[in-house]
């Protein structure tokens, strides 16, 4: 993501909710549109007024890929996937589907948000099996 859009404070707030077990996205207080990743202005109406709104955590895989050989030494634990997950509330998000093994993903497959801790930081991933 471009640095100018990266909003450290909001990103930390997003993660603070994750550590409390809540998935909240920025929601515009004027047009009610959701947005991700966090940024200070609404891309729909440019309003600077927003709040954190709970989301369902339900999404659908729009597309995906599998890293089968390390292309970056920091991510040598292959294979792993990255998917584009379209959330029920509208925004799309890049995420790992953590309960899938190679060739186990399909476009259009429903997935559910899952909060996990990696490297001491809470992060959002998704799973294929409905956890509830």
């Amino acid at each position: 993501m471009a640095d100018v859009l990266y909003d450290k404070e909001s990103d930390e707030a997003f993660r603070a909710y994750l550590s409390k077990g809540e998935i909240r996205l920025q929601c515009c207080s004027d047009c009610k549109g959701f947005r991700y990743p966090p940024r200070f202005a609404c891309p729909h109406c440019l309003s600077r007024k927003w709040h954190w709104e709970k989301v369902s955590g339900e999404g659908v895989i729009e597309t995906y890929l599998w890293y089968c050989q390390p292309v970056d030494p920091r991510f040598a634990d292959v294979p792993y996937n990255v998917a584009v997950v379209r959330l029920a509330e509208g925004p799309a998000i890049y995420a790992n589907i953590t309960d899938a093994v190679l060739d186990d993903l399909k476009i259009g497959q429903p997935v559910w948000a899952n909060i996990e801790t990696r490297n001491g930081r809470p992060r959002l991933s998704f799973v294929r099996e409905n956890p509830s």
């Binding site: 089968c68 050989q69 292309v71 920091r74 990255v82 584009v84 890049y94 930081r121």
Partner: protein, 377 residues
């Protein structure tokens, strides 16, 4: 359709120069740039290099590239305008040069790019981190996302990508400066392991070193130079948002660039004799064929399998072997090939009777699209 400010014969490419492509250990990019610019000046028949009044260069996301003021000093000239584009892949920098000429700011503009990054011939290009939390790395990921979606929606397969590589190698065998000239079979391609599934190593461009220079001039100046001018008829360009839009990785922004460039040139895909696609990965070629209207949506697999894009085909694509085979100078080498094809200088790989050429490119993580149409004198 908005009208382009310059008319079809206002801006010409009058000279091209290229260096060897591949690995050049210990050679500075400025040495490569100087070699390419000298070759381009000789090609154009410009003896007095102080006539150059514009110098446009580029830098890549990895910082490789050259500075326009340093290159000018190296050449011993002081142009009226120097400038560079961050992420100035070939077409974007050319559009900048064309605008300087079309608006009367400059008469003769050198557009040059050279680089010698580490890892030549070995490392995958496109090193970038899109999301460190989840390991979303390397620009080829955008192509992998796109082809996964294409296969699911249209029933296509990976053999289509393999045929793109096999075709590129057939052309490269006829290109003396190509870094990868060995022939390759579809079976050999399919036997390779995945890197970023559905992509294999052969689908992703490698880092290479080399230089290329193009000289652009106003048409009245162009007509007095050594070679026949090649005219830049039109440019179409479109930015798109990020994954907030649906089907981002199927490159729908290409359709807007297509409408612009064909509209401004008064042409359609049927008018194109040779197509130059900036092939950072194989996926760029089927998506370009579909989104620009060379074939129907989803039909690129059959189009490619028919042999249409290869030597002797109805629409030869990247007759220099593309950057998958010749060398990866981010679209700049495609322009050198385009000019040489339109002048009929390409020997064994010459597309017979090529008069109209089109270039297309996709930038960043599928956020920039550009296409230009060039026509022989």
């Amino acid at each position: 359709m908005r009208e382009q400010i310059w008319s079809k014969h206002d801006v010409a490419i009058v000279g091209v120069g290229t260096t060897r492509q591949g690995a050049h250990p210990g050679v500075s990019p400025y040495e490569l740039a100087l070699e390419a610019i000298e070759a381009a000046l000789a090609d154009a028949g410009i003896d007095d290099r102080t006539r150059i009044d514009g110098m446009i260069t580029a830098r890549q996301l990895d910082g490789s590239g050259i500075d326009p003021l340093d290159v000018s000093r190296l050449l011993g000239i002081a142009p009226r305008v120097t400038g560079y584009l961050d992420y100035g892949t070939g077409g974007f920098s050319n559009q900048y040069g064309a605008m300087l000429i079309a608006t009367g700011v400059c008469d003769i503009v050198v557009c040059a790019f050279a680089r010698n990054p580490p890892g030549a011939l070995e490392a995958f290009s496109g090193a970038a981190t899109y999301d460190a939390d989840i390991g979303l790395v390397n620009a080829a990921a955008a192509s992998a996302f796109g082809w996964t979606q294409h296969m699911a929606r249209y029933g296509t397969d990976e053999a289509t990508l393999g045929r793109v590589v096999v075709t590129a190698r057939k052309f490269a065998a006829m290109n003396p400066i190509a870094a990868w000239q060995e022939s390759l079979s579809l079976e050999e391609y399919l036997a390779q392991p995945y890197v970023i599934k559905p992509l294999r190593s052969l689908d992703i461009v490698k880092v290479t070193a080399g230089g290329v220079a193009l000289i652009m001039a106003r048409s009245d100046i162009a007509r007095d130079l050594r070679k026949k001018p090649v005219y830049l008829h039109a440019v179409g360009r479109q930015q798109t948002p990020d994954i907030g839009e649906q089907d981002h990785f199927l490159c729908r922004g290409m359709r807007s660039a297509a409408a612009q460039v064909y509209g401004a040139a008064g042409m359609s895909p049927a008018d194109i004799d040779v197509l130059l696609v900036s092939d950072a990965s194989t996926v760029a070629i089927p998506l370009t064929l579909e989104n620009y209207g060379f074939c129907e949506e989803g039909a690129s697999a059959n189009f490619i399998a028919s042999g249409a894009i290869g030597p002797g085909g109805a629409l030869p694509v990247n007759p220099h072997g593309g950057q998958l085979s010749e060398g990866y100078l981010v679209g700049w080498l495609h322009h050198a090939e385009m000019v040489r094809q339109l002048r009929g200088e390409c020997g064994a790989r010459q597309v017979p009777g090529a008069k109209v050429a089109q270039y297309t490119t996709t930038g960043r993580f599928r956020e920039d699209y550009l296409s230009s149409i060039y026509v022989a004198d």
